[in-house]
Every structure is written in structure tokens, then in C-alpha cells.
């Protein structure tokens, strides 16, 4: 493609960006915030990795101590994962909506490639704006935080300028990649846009990493060797990747089971809807499950800390209080982002099934039942995935739970795990309940009108 | 209608006698007026005189003797030539309905009511035709004949609606 064409594409993208609807502006704002958050976290991670030396502090050990910084950086980088899931979800909706408008451009002679590139151009724009906001936010936030905390040696902690453009470029590139990935699922013909009718069901092989990871994690507890930590790490990584990759398949199996045993129309509708598209929900549910995974793991650590010393009265252990607090804060944040992604997904799903919902309601299905059905859909998807997340973490982090059962410890850890699952499922269910306004709108008789 | 040509077409299947031809004519073209036997007889004689059909024999099946006719090569040729022609697309205007509706609109008064009455009458006839074609014993020919009539009546109705709309637009324009 020539430079002139590229310039034209950007001009067209700009024109399209100006004339947009309210929904589209809202989506764009979400995309920009997502890109900004990703930039923020990645800058934080890069920043941490670049600090040298250890300062003795009472509670800021996660930043001040040399040995802990990589872990903190990894945690910050991991926070990008839920943000990416959100970006992907919003991107899917935005792309579909935009390409629906772009069908007209196809009639005017644009090739599918042009249309796709227009999507990328839009993603680059949004990604750049988001990255800029994120950078400004990070730098300003860091200065403000250091001033507030009375940090003297600001030059030592402040992020040096050189990694900033690299992180920004990374975020913008990721935005473009997500846009390209997302547009694979939408086919634009000059006359209409249709979501690809049937995508293949997630393969059962996507469960393999999880199936491998779990035994390795368990086995590492029984091996008394120097390398058992490496084994544990390998198992944990496999399990995490496995949860992310296998969530859709787990949801599919869960939906099939629920569909087979459904005795009420609500459950049947819920199970079949999930079965038809387990991937969309799987992506966000995987993030929720990862939150449960890390949350459960944190619970095990919390037990160890609580048992070995009073974290509330001993100033030496203020470090733990702050660190665990931050961890829970991060988990809550991840959960919130995942839940936002879930909202977007629900809105999209309801928009797409508007006519059949309205037809069902017209034929006498109570709207309350349809609401129950969407709630069940969330439960069928969230429960097994979150349970697997919790179980994996328990098996990996608390071999003592099984080797040397100790009642208070078992009660705390298992209780904490259950609490995490319940919290995650409840959060997902709450989102579903909140999105019911959309459902009522989708089931309105207006949607019965033929176009 | 081109009765001689229809008879030639019916003879294309094989030799037939006059009564058989009349029966088949009425069966295959249920929408058309039944063919009087006398007309079959006189038409066949004319066709024979012109060399399009020839007498193939005489049969007697319990009743009177009947002359059986068959196509001659010249008759086959004539039939093929007819089938190859197209029917001139008739404009169908100038019918009684057209005149009545136009005059109702021209003469003023309650043209709408007149059109509604016409619509009701048309629809009543369409219901009869629909009943005839959906009857369990309706032959394929009867269904085709009903469809033919139904589509023409439908065209009348749609034209009437269109006429009213065009006229309403025109009146609006004049009143502006």
C-alpha cells in the first residue's frame, strides 16, 4: 500500500470518528480508559524494575527492597491482563458497530482489507490517546504520591524518560493487534454485516495445560528436592495459562451438562445460549477465575502471616499489612475490570438477541423469567470456572491442607477460597442483575417490528 | 381464444375424437368458457379441410360412432409455430373496471367509498378462488387457473390503491 492510501485511510477514519453516536462515544471512552490503564500499569512495572538498591522502610518494602521489586512488577504487569480482556470485549462491539456503518464504504468500493485497516487506524488513534493519558497520569501521580509520602530521594524512584516511549509504543501496538484479531470474527459484505454464524466450539485440548499443571503443582509438594520450587512455578504457570485457555471449554461442558439436566425453561435457555457462544463469556470468566486463583493464593499467604505473627500490632509486620492490603486492592481492581467487561458482553449479547427475546416475551414468557435465565447463564458459566481457579490455588499453595491437616488452617483457607468464589460469582451475578434494564428494553414490543 | 390451435395442441398427445377433445379442453382450461360440442365439430372440419388434421379412424365405445382425428405433419408445424410465438402483452386498460374507477375519481363525490366497495367485491371473488384452489380435490389445472385470476385481481386492487394515493398527492399539490 502506498503512503497516499494510508493517509487517505487515516482521513476517512477521522471523518468516521467525528460523526458518531452516543453509544460509540461511550465505547471509545472505555477503550481510551483501557489503554490508559494498561499504560499506567506497564509504566509502573518498568519503573520498579529500573530502581536499584534497597532502602530500609517500615512498610513500603514492595517498592524499596531489591528482591521484592520483580514480584511487584510482575503483579502490576499481570493487572494488564483484565484490562486487555476488557479492551478485547469493547473492541469486539466497537468493531462490529463500526463495520456495520462501513458496509456503505464497501458498496462504495473499499476492499475488506481497507475496512479492516480503517479499524486499525481507529485503534491506533484510540490507543495513542489512551497511552498519552496513562503516561501523564502515571508521571503526575508518581510525583504527587512521592510528595505526599515525603520521599526525599525522588530522582532515585521516578521513572527515567527512556522506557516511556517504549511502553507507549507497546500499548498502541497492542491496541492495533487487538483490533485486527477482533475483526476476524466479523464479515463485511457490501450489503450487510454478519457475525460469523458458527465458530468452532473450543477444543477439548485447551484443557491440557490445566490438566498438566494441576498434577505438577501437587507433585511439587511431595518432592523434597532443591528444584521443587521450580516445579511449583512451572505447575503454577501451566495452571494459570490453563485457566485462561480452558475457561471457554469448561463453560461449554458446564452448559452442556446444565442443558441436559435443565428442568425449567429458564435454565434451558441459559444453557443453550452459553453453549452457542462459550468463548465470549469465557474470556471474561477466565479473568474472574484468575482473580479467584490469586485471591485464594493470597488467602493461604495471609494465614501463614497471621499464624507467624500478629500483623496488626507488631510494627515489624506493618510490611505485611500494607502488602496484603495492596494485593487485595489489586484483586478487587481486577475483579472490577473483569466485571465491566462482563457488562459490555451482556449488552452486546442482549442487543443481538433482541428480536428473539421480544418474541419470547410476546408469546408469554414473563420478563422476570428471562431475567432469571440470564442470571442462571452467569451462574452456569462463573461457578465451575471460579471453582477451578480456587481449587488450583488451594492445591498449589496449601499442600499442608492435605498433608498435615490442621483444623483452623483448613477452615481459614477453604473458607477464604469459598469466599473468593462466592464473591466472584456474586459480582458476576450482580452485573447481570444490573444489566436487566437492557433486557427489559430488548424484550420490548418495539423489537418485534420487522426492519 | 385460439380454439383451433388449442385443439391442435391437445391432439399432439395422440389421436382423439371430438368429444374427448371437448372434455380435455374444459379440464385443462378450467378458467375458460366451456367449449360447445358444435364448435369442436365445426373447428375440426375446418382443420381437416386445411390439412392440419386427418381422420385416423372411427371408434365405437358402447355409444354412437365417433371419428378420431390426428395431427398431420402440417398441423404439427402449425402448432410448433404457434407455441414459438409470444403473446402480445396486452395493456388491459380500457376494461370496465378501469373506466368506472377513473370516472368515479373524475366525477368527484365519494370515490373512496366506491373504491372500498370495489375492493370488497374483488376480495370476495378472490376468497372464492382461494377456496377453489385450496379445496382438497383441486386439480393442478384448477390451481393454475385460480392463481392466474387471483394475480390479476390482485393487480387491480394494487392499481386502485395506487390511483387513490396518486390522486391524494395531486390534490394536496393543487391545494398548496
Amino acid at each position: 500500500m502506498t503512503g497516499g492510501r494510508t493517509r487517505d485511510l487515516f482521513a476517512v477514519a477521522g471523518m468516521l470518528a467525528r460523526g458518531t453516536s452516543r453509544g460509540e462515544r461511550r465505547r471509545r471512552r472505555l477503550l481510551v480508559s483501557g489503554a490508559a490503564l494498561a499504560t499506567f500499569f506497564l509504566l509502573g512495572a518498568a519503573n520498579l524494575l529500573l530502581i536499584r538498591g534497597t532502602t530500609q522502610t517500615e512498610w513500603a518494602g514492595l517498592v524499596a527492597e531489591e528482591g521484592l521489586r520483580p514480584g511487584t512488577a510482575l503483579a502490576l504487569a499481570l493487572l494488564v491482563v483484565p484490562v486487555l480482556a476488557l479492551l478485547h470485549q469493547v473492541g469486539r462491539v466497537a468493531q462490529a458497530a463500526q463495520e456495520r456503518r462501513l458496509a456503505a464504504l464497501r458498496l462504495a468500493g473499499a476492499t475488506p482489507r481497507d475496512v479492516r485497516l480503517l479499524g486499525v487506524a481507529e485503534a491506533l488513534r484510540v490507543g495513542t490517546v489512551g497511552a498519552l493519558i496513562g503516561t501523564v497520569g502515571y508521571v503526575a501521580g508518581q510525583q504527587a504520591a512521592m510528595a505526599a509520602l515525603g520521599v526525599g530521594d525522588t530522582g532515585r524512584y521516578a521513572i527515567p524518560p527512556w522506557p516511556v516511549p517504549a511502553v507507549m509504543a507497546l500499548v498502541v501496538a497492542a491496541a492495533a493487534l487487538v483490533s485486527l484479531r477482533v475483526s476476524r470474527h466479523v464479515v463485511v459484505s457490501p450489503l450487510s454485516v454478519a457475525r460469523r454464524a458458527s465458530r468452532p466450539a473450543p477444543s477439548p485440548y485447551t484443557i491440557i495445560p490445566l490438566a498438566l499443571g494441576l498434577p505438577i503443582v501437587v507433585a511439587s509438594a511431595f518432592i523434597d528436592a532443591a528444584w521443587n520450587l521450580w516445579l511449583l512455578a512451572l505447575g503454577a504457570v501451566l495452571a494459570i495459562v490453563g485457566i485462561a485457555a480452558g475457561a471457554a471449554r469448561v463453560i461449554l461442558e458446564s452448559a452442556r451438562l446444565a442443558g441436559r439436566w435443565a428442568r425449567t425453561p429458564e435454565t434451558l435457555l441459559a444453557a443453550r445460549a452459553l453453549e452457542a457462544d462459550p468463548r465470549a463469556g469465557g474470556r471474561t470468566m477466565a479473568v474472574v477465575a484468575l482473580v479467584v486463583f490469586f485471591g485464594t493464593a493470597t488467602g493461604v499467604v495471609t494465614w501463614d502471616v497471621v499464624r507467624t505473627g500478629g500483623i496488626f500490632d507488631d510494627p515489624e509486620d506493618r510490611f505485611w499489612l500494607v502488602s496484603l492490603g495492596l494485593t487485595y486492592g489489586a484483586l478487587l481492581f481486577a475483579l472490577l475490570v473483569a466485571v465491566t467487561a462482563l457488562v459490555v458482553h451482556r449488552a452486546e449479547a442482549l442487543l443481538e438477541s433482541g428480536r428473539s427475546m421480544a418474541a419470547l416475551a410476546a408469546a408469554g414468557a414473563p420478563v422476570a423469567s428471562l431475567r432469571r435465565s440470564t442470571l442462571r447463564q452467569t451462574l452456569i458459566a462463573a461457578t465451575p470456572v471460579c471453582a477451578i481457579g480456587a481449587l488450583t490455588a488451594l492445591l498449589g499453595m496449601a499442600p499442608g491442607l492435605f498433608l498435615t491437616p490442621d483444623l483452623p488452617m483448613v477452615a481459614w483457607t477453604a473458607g477464604h477460597a469459598l469466599f473468593m468464589v462466592a464473591l466472584a460469582v456474586a459480582a458476576a451475578a450482580a452485573v447481570t442483575a444490573l444489566s436487566n434494564r437492557l433486557l427489559t428494553r430488548a424484550a420490548a414490543p418495539v423489537n418485534l417490528r420487522a426492519e | 381464444m385460439a380454439t383451433p390451435l388449442v385443439l391442435l395442441a391437445l391432439l399432439a398427445e395422440g389421436a382423439k375424437h371430438g368429444y374427448e377433445l371437448k372434455r380435455e379442453h374444459d379440464e385443462r382450461l378450467p378458467g375458460a368458457k366451456p367449449l360447445p360440442y358444435g364448435q369442436v365439430y365445426s373447428t375440426l372440419q375446418r382443420l381437416e379441410r386445411d390439412g392440419f388434421v386427418a381422420v385416423a379412424g372411427v371408434v365405437q365405445e358402447g355409444g354412437p360412432e365417433r371419428t378420431v382425428y390426428e395431427l398431420t405433419p402440417k398441423g404439427t408445424e402449425k402448432l410448433q409455430a404457434w407455441l414459438a410465438e409470444t403473446e402480445p402483452p396486452l395493456p388491459y386498460v380500457g376494461g370496465a373496471l378501469f373506466a368506472r374507477v377513473i370516472m368515479a375519481l373524475v366525477a368527484g363525490g365519494d370515490a373512496r367509498a366506491a373504491l372500498d366497495r370495489q375492493r370488497a367485491a374483488h376480495l370476495e371473488r378472490m376468497r372464492e378462488l382461494t377456496r377453489a384452489k385450496t379445496a382438497s380435490d383441486a386439480s393442478a389445472a384448477a390451481v393454475l387457473a385460480s392463481d392466474f385470476a387471483l394475480l390479476h385481481l390482485d393487480a387491480d386492487l394494487r392499481w386502485m390503491e395506487l390511483a387513490v394515493r396518486r390522486l391524494a398527492d395531486l390534490t394536496e399539490e393543487m391545494n398548496r
Binding site: A262, A276, A359, A363, G364, P366, R449 | R117, L123, T134
Partner: protein, 226 residues
């Protein structure tokens, strides 16, 4: 004759658009009635009012002795589920459910157990000649098959009234007439009242009577002199 369905001076507005302005009609039990009129005349809105899907801004809707416009949403929903059946132009089937499940789910909402509902659904698919489509999803069916499944769904619970909104609009002539013939044949066998909304004169001719809607009101039935 006490009419089974009655509308009196029904008005409905959507924002500034007045879809119906004082429409009145009466339909007897067992009648098969076509509501016709040009597009935008308000005939679909009238159907939605009669079927208790929409509550009119003004006027009365009666089913027997029941005032639909005075019922709450729950009672109207129950009425629609138990006494009415509805067919739309585009089937309105749930895309994720198989044909048999689409019919069964409606019966399950009516309180039938899953196994009974599935058996009854299969029976109705058979009566409409689409039992071989039972395990397929709407996306794998032809337009005519989708409409037959939708009709099975509308008929399976033994409704007193079936409302059909342009049920043949998405089909070609032959398939449309076939499907409509099936619906009306079944309705006649069971003495079911049918209210058929259509803009197609030839479809309207399938009904016993035509009600013309024009500019949001029912046109007076003319006295025909021949």
C-alpha cells in the same frame, strides 16, 4: 353473537407518531380475519394491542369479558401464554435452541415438565410436517421450515386465538401459501380464531373476512352491491 375480541376507539402513539387513532373492530369466535392495509397504516400496532402485547394510550380492548387494557403486565403475560398464540414475520425463534426446544420452551413456560413438553413439541412439529427438523437450530432451516416451527410453537398449547403478523412476508409465494394453508387448516379443525395481519391481498383472501386499516383507523366495511 358476542365478539371474542373487541377494540373500541383504540389510540396508540409512539413519541410524536400516532400509530392508531380511534380504531374499533370486533372479531367473533372461530373467525379467520385478515387485517390489511398499506405499510405504516397501524395494522401491526393494532395486532399488538389485540394480543395484549401493547397497552393502548386510549380506548378499550376486550377478550371475551376481560378488559386487556386494564390488566397488569403479569396477567396479560399469562393470557398470552395460555390463551393466545403468536407468529411473526421472521419466526422469532430463539437461535440457540433446536426446533423442538423452541416449541417445548414455550410449553415449559406454561408449566409443563421438560419431557412432556418435548414430546408434545415433537408431535406438533410432525403435524406441521417438520418433525425431521426437530434437532436442527433455526439457522440451519429454510424460511418455510422456520415459519412452520414458529406455527407449531403458536399452536402447541391449544390457544383460543392465533395472531399472525405477516407470517408469509419472508417467504416466496408457493412456500408462503403452503405454510398459511397449514396454519389456517389446523385453526379451522380446532375452531381457533385467527387474526392475520398482511399487506398482501392474496394472503388476505385466505381469511373469511377482511378488516382494512387506513391511517390508524379501521375503514368502514362497505355494503357490496353487485
Amino acid at each position: 353473537m358476542t365478539p371474542l375480541l373487541q377494540a373500541r376507539d383504540v389510540s396508540v402513539s409512539f413519541g410524536r407518531t400516532r400509530a392508531l387513532r380511534g380504531a374499533s373492530l370486533a372479531i367473533g369466535a372461530g373467525e379467520i380475519v385478515a387485517i390489511s392495509g398499506p405499510s405504516g397504516s397501524g395494522k401491526s400496532t393494532l395486532l399488538h394491542c389485540l394480543a395484549g402485547i401493547l397497552v393502548p394510550d386510549d380506548g378499550e380492548i376486550r377478550y371475551g369479558e376481560t378488559r386487556l387494557d386494564e390488566l397488569d403486565e403479569d396477567s396479560r403475560t399469562r393470557l398470552r401464554r395460555e390463551v393466545f398464540g403468536i407468529v411473526f414475520q421472521f419466526g422469532g425463534l430463539v437461535p440457540e435452541l433446536t426446533a423442538v426446544e423452541n416449541v417445548a420452551v414455550s410449553l415449559m413456560f406454561g408449566g409443563l415438565g421438560r419431557a412432556e413438553a418435548a414430546a408434545a413439541a415433537l408431535d406438533w412439529l410432525g403435524r406441521l410436517g417438520v418433525d425431521d427438523c426437530a434437532p436442527l437450530r433455526p439457522g440451519d432451516l429454510s424460511g418455510g421450515q422456520v415459519q412452520r416451527v414458529a406455527m407449531a410453537r403458536a399452536l402447541a398449547h391449544g390457544p383460543k386465538v392465533v395472531f399472525a403478523d405477516e407470517p408469509t412476508g419472508a417467504l416466496d409465494s408457493v412456500a408462503g401459501e403452503e405454510v398459511l394453508g397449514l396454519l389456517l387448516g389446523t385453526a379451522r379443525d380446532h375452531g381457533t380464531t385467527v387474526v392475520l395481519v398482511t399487506h398482501d391481498n392474496r394472503i388476505a383472501a385466505y381469511a373469511d373476512r377482511e378488516i382494512v386499516v387506513r391511517d390508524g383507523a379501521v375503514a368502514a366495511s362497505p355494503v357490496v352491491t353487485r
